[in-house]
Symmetry: C2
Subunit: 287 residues, 2 copies
Amino acid sequence: MRDLSADHRFLSINTATVRQQADLIGIVEACARRNIRAVSPWRDQVSAIGLDRAVQAIRDAGLQLSGYCRGGMFTADDAHRAEMWDDNRRAIDEAAALGSPCLVLVVGGLPQYSRPGSAPSKDIRAAHAQVHDALAGLLDHARAAKVPLAIEPLHPMYAADRACVNTLRQALDLCDVIDPDRQGGIGVAIDTYHVWWDYEVFAQIARTGRDRLLAIHVCDWLVPTKDMLLDRGMMGDGVIDIPAYRRAVEEQGFDGFIEVELLSTDWWSRPLDETLDTVIARYRTAV
Amino acid sequence: MRDLSADHRFLSINTATVRQQADLIGIVEACARRNIRAVSPWRDQVSAIGLDRAVQAIRDAGLQLSGYCRGGMFTADDAHRAEMWDDNRRAIDEAAALGSPCLVLVVGGLPQYSRPGSAPSKDIRAAHAQVHDALAGLLDHARAAKVPLAIEPLHPMYAADRACVNTLRQALDLCDVIDPDRQGGIGVAIDTYHVWWDYEVFAQIARTGRDRLLAIHVCDWLVPTKDMLLDRGMMGDGVIDIPAYRRAVEEQGFDGFIEVELLSTDWWSRPLDETLDTVIARYRTAV
C-alpha cells in the first residue's frame, strides 16, 4: 500500500467537487497551482467552454486525466434509443480527444429518469438487459478509440433514477458476459461512497483484477445523510474506512490516481481554495 | 399467485404505518373494524400500553400476528454487550407471549448508532462478525420459545446506522452458516422497499425456500425520495413492480400474510381511517 502522507502526486480532482466555484478553466488552473497532477472532468463542464479549449487548457496546465464523466444513461424507450447511442459515441470520442484513460459510465435506472420523455416503466429487469445491450454495442467503438468503458456501480439508492448497476458483483458479471476472454475495453470504476456497505466488496475487488480496475473514487458517508445526492462527506468526516478500500485495490496492483469526487452543497458553498486545500490535506491523512 | 383483488384476508398491518395516529389499542380496534386479520406491532407501541394489555387487546380483537418488530441492534462495544443480549432475549419472550410467528431483526450498523454510547468504529467487517455471533448466540433461545429469528436485510443506505445486512444473499449466507442443516429457528423477512433494486433478488428468493421465508413486507419506492427514513411510498405510488416480488415468494410456497409497513410522514399526517382505507385499496390493486 502506497504512503500518501508525504505528497499528493497520486491525487486527482473530479471536477464536480468544485463545480459551483469555477468553470473548468478555473478549476484546472487552481489544480495546477497546487501541483495536482490529474483531473476528471464532467462533460457539461467541458461543453461549457468547448472541447478544443478544454483539451488545450488541460494540456497547458500539464494535467493528466484519471477519467471522464460520464457516459451511460443507457435505458430508454424506442423513441430515445438513437439519442442514447449518439450521445455515448460522442462521449467516447470526447474522452479520446481529452486523453482520458477511460469513460466512466452511470448506466441509467428506469428509462423515464435515464432519458426523460421515455415511457414510464417499473421493469428494472428490462433496464438491466438494456444496459447489457448498450455496453456490448459500444465495446468496439471504445476499443477502437482506446477508451475503455468503466462501469461505475452506484449506491442502490440510485437504482431507480441513475443506475441500475448497484454492486461490484453485478458490474463484474456484466464484464464477464461482454468480455469473457478479458480482451479489455471494459472494466469498473470503484467509488468508496457507492460500495463501502457491501459485505462482498473485498472479495469482488479481488475478483476485479488489475486489468479491470479502471478508476478509483473516494469520498465519505455522513451520518446522517441529509440529501441522497448532494450530501457526500469529505474524507475523514464520515464512517467509511477509506484506507481499507485503497489497500484492497492496491493489492490488486492498482498504482494510478486516487480521484476525489465529492458532490456536496456544503463543500460547494465554500471558497474554491478552501475546498481544494482540504481535499489535499484529507487525501494525505484519511485516504 | 394468489388473487388479492377480491378481499383483504391476507393483509397484515405493520403498526408503524399508523403509529402517529393512534396507540396500539386504537390501531388494533381500527384494524378489527375493517376485518383486517393480522398486525405486526412494534415493541415501543407494546411497551407504551404494557405487554399484558397488548396480548389481551390483540386476542379480544381476534387478530393474528405476522411478525413482531423488532429485535436486533446486535453491534455494541464491550460495555453495551450485556444490554444487547438482555434486550434481545426479552424481545423473543415478548414475541412468544404475543403469539408472533417470528421476531423481525434489524441487525444494527456500526456500534455507535446501534447501541448509543458505544465507542465509535468504522469497522463494518467487525459489525458483520458481531451480527453473526449474536444470531448464533440467540438461536437456542429462539428455538425454545418457538419464535424464529427473521433477519431483515435493510436497504444499503441504512448500513451505517441501522443494519449492516443489506442483501438477501448476505442474510441467507448467515442462515447457511448458523443453521447449515436447516433445522429452523432462523430465516428472513423480505421487504420490497429494501430489496427491489437487487439484480439477484429473484435468484435469492428462490434460494430462500419456503422454510426460511418468515415474513413479507411491502411498500413502494418514491422518486424522488426526500427523506431516507420517512418517505416510503404507498403501494402503487412508486416504481417498484410489487406483484413481481409477491409472485416470486408465492412461487416458493409462501401463503401467509402480506404485511404493509409504511414509514411516511405524509401518510402519518393523514387521518387513521384514510391511511388504513388506502392501504386496503392498494393492497387489492397494486400488490
